[in-house]
């Protein structure tokens, strides 16, 4: 009988003891930090019902590895962890409103984004804070940064956005519901050229032109040369300037929402006073998150505000963020508030969470950037 080499599927790799030793060391640092902050580890099955992936939105439903079980039911290899955790918690009648703070360190599976059809196995570390308190928990952001500090990564960028503010901005600019969906799609795919064309098509008069110049850069970094609002860690002066810019933005958007008046080709856009309170709430959440985060960041790190940040997961509503390190062009990870996802599973909790690439954290630690830290600060 001829022996046939049995290779693992592409992008899924076996790990030899030396590599595993480094991974265990990094994993221990991360889990020690999380457990010290009262997070408890959760694990879910690798196999998820396809319905779970569908609840995550089209991006996941089209990128997950599906298979049909002998029972005829459609399953996927879990493409991420937030939805499986919500699914698992939702099935527990004993939980009530008292949900523990949870973390995980495990593998997830997606089809490669280049359309080649290969299944990519990635390891992630993440945490979920789920509770009956509807206020978003900015501590999720600072926790994700603490994990970076644990493996010695001090130089990073973090972009923070807010989906509610994004919508308010788009409405103030006179976008219809259909336009907003289109613009969100362009922003999520990085098609800034198409996004700018769409915004420029709205210009009907000098007033609209002026409004676009003022608000456009908040959605598209670099729009008409405008740089995003940013602040370095521990920089009180920069933080004050950033808050001032946000206050000015809020005032301008509020005026438009309350009074209408943006001129489009189709005519003058109506006032939307019902969105003003959502705007104020969203801005308060964003400012609180920025305040807390910049105080914790090291001076080498920079926080930027981008209201055009659209994460692949369609279930985020409210605060969203992404983290970047210079070992790759792709984000290291990110998170956000996902009450909408929890509703899809029939529960009324509020949830905020994040996931970081554990594989990249191991690489960053192994590249000699790790310092021997026993505490995150």
């Amino acid at each position: 009988m001829k022996l046939v080499a049995d290779n693992t599927m592409s992008n899924s790799r076996d790990m030899m003891p030396a590599e595993n030793n480094l991974r265990r060391t990094v994993a221990r640092k991360l889990t020690d930090l999380l457990q010290a902050q009262d997070f408890r580890e959760i694990a879910t099955s690798v196999f998820e019902p396809y319905s779970t992936a569908q609840k995550c939105g089209e991006w996941f439903a089209t990128r997950c590895c599906k298979f049909v079980a002998p029972s005829g039911d459609l399953y996927v290899l879990r493409p991420e962890m937030t939805a499986p955790i919500i699914r698992a918690l939702s099935n527990r009648a004993d939980l009530g409103e008292d949900v523990p703070r949870l973390f995980y360190l495990t593998n997830v599976f997606n089809l490669s984004g280049d359309g080649a059809g290969s299944v990519v196995e990635q390891w992630q570390v993440g945490a979920e804070v789920i509770s009956s308190d509807p206020r978003p928990l900015a501590e999720s952001i600072t926790l994700s940064l603490d994990l970076l500090g644990t493996v010695g990564v001090d130089e990073y960028r973090i972009t923070v956005g807010h989906t509610g503010l994004q919508m308010a901005l788009m409405v103030a600019l006179g976008l219809t519901d259909k336009d907003r969906v289109t613009l969100e799609s362009y922003l999520q795919q990085g098609l800034y050229v198409d996004a700018k064309s769409l915004l420029l098509s709205l210009v009907g008069d000098d007033d609209s032109r002026s409004l676009l110049s003022s608000l456009g850069p908040w959605l598209i970094p670099g729009f008409r040369g405008g740089l995003p609002a940013s602040c370095s860690g521990q920089d009180q002066v920069g933080l004050a300037r950033l808050k001032e810019r946000l206050q000015n933005l809020a005032a301008e958007v509020k005026t438009r929402l309350a009074g209408g008046g943006v001129t489009r080709e189709a005519g003058v856009v109506e006032a939307r006073p019902e969105l003003v309170s959502a705007l104020e709430r969203g801005m308060a959440e964003l400012v609180a998150a920025i305040d807390r985060t910049t105080r914790q960041m090291p001076p080498e790190a920079v926080l930027r505000v981008s209201l055009g940040l659209v994460r692949p997961q369609s279930y985020y509503q409210g605060l969203v963020w992404e983290i970047y390190t210079n070992d790759s062009g792709l984000a290291l990870g990110g998170g956000g508030q996902y009450d909408a996802l929890i509703r899809r599973f029939g529960r009324q909790w509020s949830g905020t969470g994040f996931a970081l690439s554990f594989d990249r954290l191991v690489d960053l630690a192994g590249q000699g950037r790790a310092k021997d830290r026993s505490s995150p600060h």
Binding site: G113, D114, G115, E155, R157, T159, G190, L191, Y192, V193, D194, P221, G222, G225, L227, P228, S230, V302, R304, E322, Y324, T325, N326, D327, S328, G329, L330, A331, Q367
Partner: protein, 244 residues
Amino acid sequence: MLTDSTFHDRQKNGPDRGRDGHRPLTIAVAKGRMLEATAQLLARAGLPAETLLDTASRRLVRVAGDITYLILKPADVATYVEQGVADLGIAGRDSLAESRRSIIELEDLGFGLCQMVVAGPQPSARRSWLEGKALTGRPLRVATKYPRVASDFFNQASRPAEVIPLHGNIELAPLMGLADLVVDIVQTGRTLRENGLEVVEEIFTSTARLVSSATSLQIKNSEIVNLAGELARAAGEGVDIAGR
């Protein structure tokens, strides 16, 4: 002189700020028909780009001041940018669309104009396209160098098709019965006409695009935004638009 290995070390360790406090940038450029127009546009935007016009050199990494150029196949530009090896890239929308990489298209640079089209032999192609099937009734066979673009387009057009990936001389496929239609880029359309093919549908217009990664846009934000603005201005001044 910066060798390929020192270039790689510089990337890994993080470049220091160069003169004027600006950080160095690495720009991936597509070799081939767009390289000369790319170099001219970069020069118009104030960047040192003469090194790109040195056709005698086979060097793939060329350093000019604070700019490092990587000369790549068009299909690879998006990959180098997505992975963070290059901060910026300049390539045609056609190759970027086919690559499916997670990158950000910052600016339309206006040159390298062509159309991505569906074409086929006269007179059968138009009927095949309209009816969504071959003349014999079977599903369409579509030959192309852009299988992902073609698959997406035919799916969205609700026309079932078998996509046949090829690497060159796409026009030959329908002439020899390998395919009913082709998806390919056209500039003047002369090659299609001379081979008895006609365009039956336009998919999109392709021009050169400036792209970046999410990370580079964050880490070198001011440099990239300013350069993108300069390139957009230079492109708006009509540098090599259409036909190049």
